[in-house]
Symmetry: C2
Subunit: 380 residues, 2 copies
């Protein structure tokens, strides 16, 4: 198959797969797509370890890395320690979480030591260290998951000859990104898992392409809700250079998704997700649960804190709830959530990542045939 | 061109155009698409007049009618007069609107006599009368805009040999509709103007097709955000039989959209719409304005009333605000709104409806070529 992104990245099928799991990244790359390792919560040492493993698996086939260097966050420029950031969380919010847990029959003690802390703090310095590690490996794309990439990222990538991708959820952001020098845009619709805006993929893709055309010709990847080959074909029809996927890999055999969450996902319809600030402080789409309910305006709680403070409240707590949920704790099961897009309604089976790619290619070809057939029919 | 819906309806391009404006209906039908007259706010006499006019224009080419026979509404089965329904609106809500107008420098007196009333009341009997009128004309499709069509509508259409279409925004509703005997499903994504659910077109179309497959093979039209030919092609890629459009016709030369609203639409981005209960009592997508703001949870107002009571508060008021907005009244301009989907971000020019169809066909063919090219490239 051939689209602009296939040429640019040296792949056979215009499919990029974002995953925190190195096994998924390697499997997709080996199946003719392009794996992108989500490395925002890795330490530099962990990232080095993961990329070395991937290099061993993919035999020179192309893959990429995604890190988070957000433009704006509480404490930006201050390079605070996680303890200093944790201390910025108001007592009111800690108390609210304790009460929420209590209402679900859970005490804070059950969640292990130091529940209100983050695995990783956001900072430019950690971003630079992750970049250093990434560029010691033969990566073919570096992506920034939130906002315009910092100048050091763009400069470094240009020096290394590696294209920079950035995620956008609105045409105004796309324009800023292209002006900043980004090489690939991931236009992510509101149906996407994780951070997303309000505009749907069907509208966002043509709107972004139209908006950036006068500035510079940058390939746009469609993201948001894409879990089948027919949706990849729809993306190409919309003018995208390919598709960027994430959610679909969460229920593959390789993924490290918490087992109870996998079961929730397999049973979920597209209406079981919600855009919530409850996880990171910015709107991100995830499974609806008692946790996300607690951060809606209707809940009359204190509301979510700005990034990265909300993660101090949520990250460890939700990870540890996953363990309790798996053991059958009903309160933990009600609260458990994870990022996933509306495409979860089409994710009904655990399969190997390789098989997902193969089925996507077949489904893409069927869709292409439908389109070709519709046009040929008119020539009769 | 040829798709299942082209065969079923006898059209050349798989495009259905919903409009309250007979000129748009006739223009689209004459250009090779399929016009559908939105007749929910017509009296039987008006509808007779409009359909006779359309018959004169289209020379036997196919068109349809869309009426609203909702399953559930306040006063259902009671056949209340509009006065009786208006009397059901609490004083608190009337006062809230008066205060809202006042905050925008407007008094109720400026809005003419009897501002809190509806042009048309919902009832099964009006639905039956509109059906009677419709079937006196050679309509090729009858659509119900909200919920499962009543049995009398399905029975009558079957007797007349006319397929029945129904709008759905979730797979659960699609299953109910197919079980009730509907012949065509319009699966409408959250990006759609007017009543819509939460699921986006990109996800909803494959999800609905998958859900109804075990029951019966019913063509699914994609709706929501579709204003270009590439999006029609994307719909076919997703497995839809064609596309159902609405918003794109609001800024055509023929449309009767209020002039100030047309200007708002031409300048709007996809993020300038909102799903609001403020117009009908059910979530419907429309231009964001001071009116829609007033019915959000954050506004601390009394909240929207159930259908059809909210329309008593909104319909005349908003129509008359349109007149004042056109005259330059700034309060009215801030409040003015109208149903439109996120596709408004791609609607930047007033054009004749005929030209919109022609451009859509060209854009569809370009998209088909992109898809074909991507597959052929792979054979090299």
């Amino acid at each position: 198959m051939k689209t602009p992104i296939c040429d640019m990245l040296g792949i056979e099928f215009p499919l990029l797969a974002f995953s925190h799991c190195r096994d998924v990244v390697a499997a997709v790359t080996n199946a003719g797509g392009f794996g992108v390792l989500g490395a925002s919560s890795h330490s530099p040492e962990q990232l080095e370890h993961e990329l070395a493993w991937i290099d061993d698996q993919v035999d020179g086939r192309p893959y990429g890395v995604d890190i988070v260097c957000p433009e704006k966050f509480e404490g930006k420029g201050m390079d605070l320690t996680s303890e200093q950031i944790a201390a910025m969380v108001p007592a009111e919010h800690r108390d609210y979480v304790v009460k929420l847990l209590d209402a679900h029959g859970l005490s804070l003690d059950e969640l292990g030591s130091n529940p209100f802390s983050a695995r990783q703090t956001l900072s430019d310095s950690i971003g630079e260290k992750l970049l250093d590690v990434s560029f010691r490996h033969p990566i073919k794309l570096i992506a920034n998951a939130l906002g315009v990439p910092p100048q050091f990222m763009i400069d470094r990538a240009k020096a290394e000859g590696v294209p920079v991708a950035a995620l956008v959820g609105a045409k105004e952001h796309a324009i800023k990104q292209v002006q900043a020098g980004v090489d690939v845009l991931v236009a992510q619709g509101t149906e996407a898992g994780g951070h997303c805006g309000e505009v749907t993929t069907m509208v966002l893709i043509p709107e972004v392409i139209e908006a950036i055309r006068p500035i510079r010709d940058v390939p746009v990847l469609a993201a948001g809700g894409i879990v089948t080959g027919r949706q990849v074909a729809a993306s190409i029809a919309l003018g995208a250079a390919g598709a960027w996927t994430g959610s679909v890999w969460l229920t593959t055999e390789e993924a490290e998704t918490a087992p109870y969450t996998v079961q929730k996902m397999l049973g979920a319809s597209s209406r079981d997700t919600v855009r919530s600030k409850g996880r990171t402080g910015k709107y991100s789409r995830q499974l609806k649960s008692a946790w996300t309910d607690a951060w809606t305006p209707e809940a009359n709680g204190p509301g979510a804190l700005p990034m990265p403070l909300q993660s101090i409240l949520s990250e460890n707590v939700l990870n540890r709830l996953d363990v309790l949920a798996e053991k059958g704790n009903q309160g933990a099961q009600a609260l458990a959530s994870y990022w996933v897009g509306q495409g979860v309604g089409l994710m009904n089976k655990v399969r190997p990542a390789r098989e997902v790619v193969r089925e996507m290619i077949e489904d893409y070809l069927d869709a292409a045939e439908r389109i070709t057939g519709s046009v040929e029919g008119g020539d009769e």
